[in-house]
């Protein structure tokens, strides 16, 4: 298990006074301190870790967030920002002496500007809520994490969330114009705006994906895009992982960038089929779901070309959707993949490393070996176009030995991702989960550099502590001095 820093006793001792002070800032139901009511906030999507916070505050305005930050900063109180609490890496895991600032009551869509193709929304608006607000005019917000029904845009910004369609549309960072940002001192700063690109340092780019380490985002200006005329999927199943990987390379090599390109291995195909009855081929070792966009004729052209390419790789089956319904049927299994795996195992860990796509056969082969060695099953779903791997490790959380093995297995997979030229996390974030593996990807002086930048925003290390950076580096990094020449 991953260690959390010891709570500051002087903060715990002042709990009642702190709660009273927060109530003065956010009146009414906006401050939660009763143990039973804190329960829903003790964990996030990484449910293996639980820790009730000192208190939860639910502001309704940027001004309230700023006032809470000013108070916490003046009193040396740690702060954990939280959106919907869907983080799979423990990004919103509280600490015993921390105040959770929950942004879920800041859920207004402030403005939609179709002429400039943008929407200004509060941080607690859900990802899908943005698309819902602009769909009637034929627009959508592109990044689509699996949790998009629940997850909030403020959390998406903090974690730089991706999704199945980011091969074409990019991740959160590529779809933002500006944010309203509250510093640790409680100052409110507008970063970016309604125009493209910064004149000066790219603060927006640095803040996006910073996992609550630099400040709190309360408002977001996102780009909205016109929806395509239509989209359709096809399914291609192959006899081996290598062959499916070669087919992916051939599709990309032909100049086609499908809007989505999803890969499932045999255990995943079986789990999804048992759950969704999507008609997946059970004799396949690997299956691709490939989606294209455009007019009917354009979809036919692209799917025809992809079908022809896949045909060269001796496929077990090729199924091209002719209608939106057939397309939805192909997606049904994939979209339910996590739920399907949840049915065959009491618990699973969802990993999130990225690898160079050419390393896919080697990596999946090694994962299979590890699976045998650990005695734990694994099912793989994979954003094949961009190399973002999601191995689901099946285990039993009620069995401490099974839990320990699952965590060790996961860490081994992530080490492997780095070893083959990839990274620890493609879209879920480091959080608490991968914090202690940062030294696998970065050298000590590189981590020290990142810590110094964090310290430039948050000199007292009050913002979302115990995440991202290994605990031994917590606090101000040593000052940078010129190395010996």
């Amino acid at each position: 298990m991953i260690a959390l820093p010891p709570p500051k006793p002087e903060i715990l001792a002042r709990r009642d006074a702190i709660v009273a002070a927060l109530r003065a800032i956010v009146p009414g139901e906006g401050v939660i301190s009763a143990p039973l009511e804190l329960k829903p906030y003790e964990t996030d999507g990484l449910t293996a870790y639980r820790q009730p916070p000192l208190a939860v505050v639910l502001p309704t305005s940027t001004e309230q967030v700023a006032a809470v930050m000013r108070y916490c900063h003046a009193n040396g109180i740690r702060v954990v920002p939280r959106g919907a609490g869907t983080s799979l890496s423990g990004g919103a895991l509280p600490l015993a002496d921390a105040v959770v600032i929950g942004l879920m009551r800041m859920n207004r869509i402030l403005e939609v500007d179709y002429d400039n193709r943008l929407a200004v929304v509060e941080a607690g608006v859900t990802n899908l809520g943005i698309t819902a607000a602009v769909a009637e005019r034929g627009f959508f917000y592109a990044p689509d994490p699996s949790s998009q029904l629940a997850c909030m845009i403020g959390g998406n910004v903090m974690m730089n969330s991706g999704g199945a369609h980011c091969l074409k549309y990019g991740v959160t960072a590529n779809n933002l114009l500006g944010v309203k940002f509250v510093t640790v001192e409680g100052e409110v700063v507008e970063i970016g705006g309604r125009h493209l690109d910064a004149a000066g340092y790219d603060w927006l780019g640095l803040i996006t994906g910073s996992e609550g380490q630099l400040g709190i985002v309360t408002e977001v200006t996102v780009r909205i895009l016109p929806s395509p005329e239509g989209a359709r999927a096809m399914l291609a199943a192959f006899r081996s992982i290598e062959v499916a990987g070669a087919a992916v390379a051939a599709i990309i090599g032909s100049g086609i960038i499908p809007v989505a390109l999803e890969f499932m291995d045999r255990p995943c195909i079986h789990a999804c089929e048992a759950f969704a009855h999507a008609g997946y081929p059970l004799d396949a070792e690997a299956m691709l779901i490939i989606e294209v966009e455009g007019s009917e004729a354009e979809q036919d052209m692209l799917l025809g070309r992809i079908r022809e390419i896949c045909g060269r790789f001796d496929p077990i089956s090729l199924r091209v959707a002719q209608t939106a319904e057939e397309s939805a049927a192909i997606w049904k299994g994939r979209k339910g993949a996590f739920g399907a795996v949840g049915r065959i195992s009491p618990d699973y860990l969802c990993m999130d490393g990225t690898i160079p796509t050419s390393e896919l056969p080697r990596v999946l082969g090694r994962i299979a070996e590890m699976s045998r060695a650990y005695g734990l099953q694994v099912a793989n779903v994979f954003h094949a176009g961009d190399g973002n791997l999601h191995p689901l490790i099946l285990f039993d959380a009620n069995d401490p030995e099974s839990t320990r093995k699952a965590e060790a297995f996961g860490a081994d997979i992530l080490r492997l991702c780095v070893e083959v030229g990839g990274c620890l996390t493609g879209e879920h974030g480091v959080g608490v989960e991968k914090r202690d593996l940062m030294g696998v990807q970065f050298l000590p002086h590189e981590l020290a550099q990142q810590r110094r930048i964090k310290g430039a925003f948050d000199p007292d290390w009050l913002l979302n502590p115990s995440k991202v950076f290994p605990l031994e580096g917590e606090g101000a990094a040593p000052a940078l001095t010129a190395r010996a020449a």
Partner: protein, 399 residues
């Protein structure tokens, strides 16, 4: 400019040079081929450190959509390697040789350090959106890596974006990994003569708000007579497979028909014309004139243009749907003040892109930052360059 030029041919030597400069407290001007010396503020440094000898593509995997190259690699060398595999640089960075009167081509490091993007930015993102990994030397002479060589990566703080567009003030870029994409099979454009800029922006918005995916949306205030385009002209570009280009151009033409008489431009004409937009040569800036880039919400573009035409003999070119206003005019503080006022009124930002040294030294070449952010900026600069030896004053006086 600086007298002594250091041009190491390894990253290790760059690190040594910076460490020595930091130890001595002697600032360095940082550049690649020095093509953009007339961009932003002049640097007062006795010596210049150039990455021009860090050359070469170090990794290119077309089927993984990634390319890594050393910072001093000339851009044309990278473009040629990509073209061999039918790929291209997504953000279409402009070749600024003509604007700056430079003989050498820009380097990859220079283009990334300036976050320069061309017309395709409106559809596919800026340079900063495609920088997947960097290696750089910080102001203490340490080699730091951020990002990597994969398309999706959220491991740790995104120093790639912080370094991109930091003009060599936070670190000396030594190697960069970019996402690249297949180059389109075909291209073409629709041109529409419009009575005024506001109508032009509406025409571009109609195209950009349609499902047909234009990858260029520019407004030429004086048209392009050499291409038979007289008068103010709105221009929308499609890049895709040939059947899609034909179909989408046809649909855009139908979409614009209520606003006038749209014309189709074939691939060759379209390519030639968009090159002139990309390089801003359509601006027709005279030698000695200043050039600004103003970025505002697209609907504010016409008001910025009107304000500047009222202030001086401004020549203009609008890209990015109307949101990027290229401005050419007299290199005076009065003209600069008019540009900054118009950018502010339009809710956007400005960059003094080219000017004689006295003007660049005298004015704010970039907008200032609100005090809380300026304080953070100073601490971030100190976190990366504690002795302040990297390109001091390049972006803002005293920073």
């Amino acid at each position: 400019m600086s007298a002594a030029l250091l041009a190491p041919d390894s990253e290790e030597e760059v690190a040594r040079a910076v460490a020595a400069a930091a130890a001595a407290g002697e600032p360095l001007a940082i550049e690649g081929n020095g093509t953009k010396r007339a961009l932003l503020r002049p640097v007062q440094a006795a010596r210049t450190l150039s990455t021009r000898n860090l050359r070469g593509i170090t990794l290119y995997r077309p089927q993984e959509l990634i390319l890594s190259a050393r910072a001093g690699t000339p851009l044309p060398e990278i473009e040629a390697a990509l073209a061999e595999h039918g790929q291209h640089l997504i953000a279409e960075p402009p070749d600024t040789r003509a604007l700056f009167g430079a003989e050498l081509p820009a380097t990859l490091g220079g283009v990334v350090a300036a976050n320069l993007s061309g017309p395709r930015r409106i559809a596919w993102g800026a340079m900063r959106d495609h920088v997947l990994g960097v290696r750089f030397v910080n102001g203490a002479g340490e080699v730091i890596r951020s990002g990597g060589r994969v398309l999706k990566n959220v491991t740790g703080l995104d120093l790639c974006k912080l370094l991109t567009g930091s003009y060599g003030t936070l670190g000396v870029l030594t190697e960069i990994t970019l996402k690249v994409l297949p180059a389109p099979e075909a291209t073409g454009s629709v041109a529409l003569r419009v009575p005024d800029l506001a109508t032009g922006v509406r025409a571009l918005a109609a195209g950009l708000g349609s499902p047909f995916g234009p990858t260029g949306a520019a407004l030429l205030p004086e048209g392009a007579p050499a291409f038979g385009l007289e008068g103010t002209t709105a221009l929308l570009r499609i890049e895709d497979f040939a059947p899609s280009v034909a179909y989408r151009l046809d649909r855009l033409r139908a979409l614009l028909a209520p606003l006038g008489a749209p014309r189709l431009l074939d691939a060759e004409t379209s390519r030639a014309l968009w090159r002139l937009v990309r390089e801003a040569s359509l601006l027709g800036a005279a030698a000695g004139e200043a050039i600004w880039r103003v970025s505002v919400p697209p609907t504010a573009g016409p008001a910025v243009a009107a304000a500047l035409r009222g202030a001086f003999a401004a020549r203009l070119l609008l890209d990015w749907g109307g949101g990027l206003v290229w401005v050419a005019g007299p290199a005076t503080e009065a003209a600069h003040a008019a540009v900054t006022a118009a950018a502010r009124a339009g809710g956007g930002v400005w960059t003094l892109f080219r000017a004689p040294e006295p003007l660049r030294a005298a004015v704010a070449v970039l907008p200032g930052e609100p005090p809380p952010l300026a304080a953070i900026a100073a601490r971030v600069k100190a976190a990366l360059d504690p002795k302040g030896v990297l390109n001091p004053g390049r972006m803002r006086a005293g920073a």
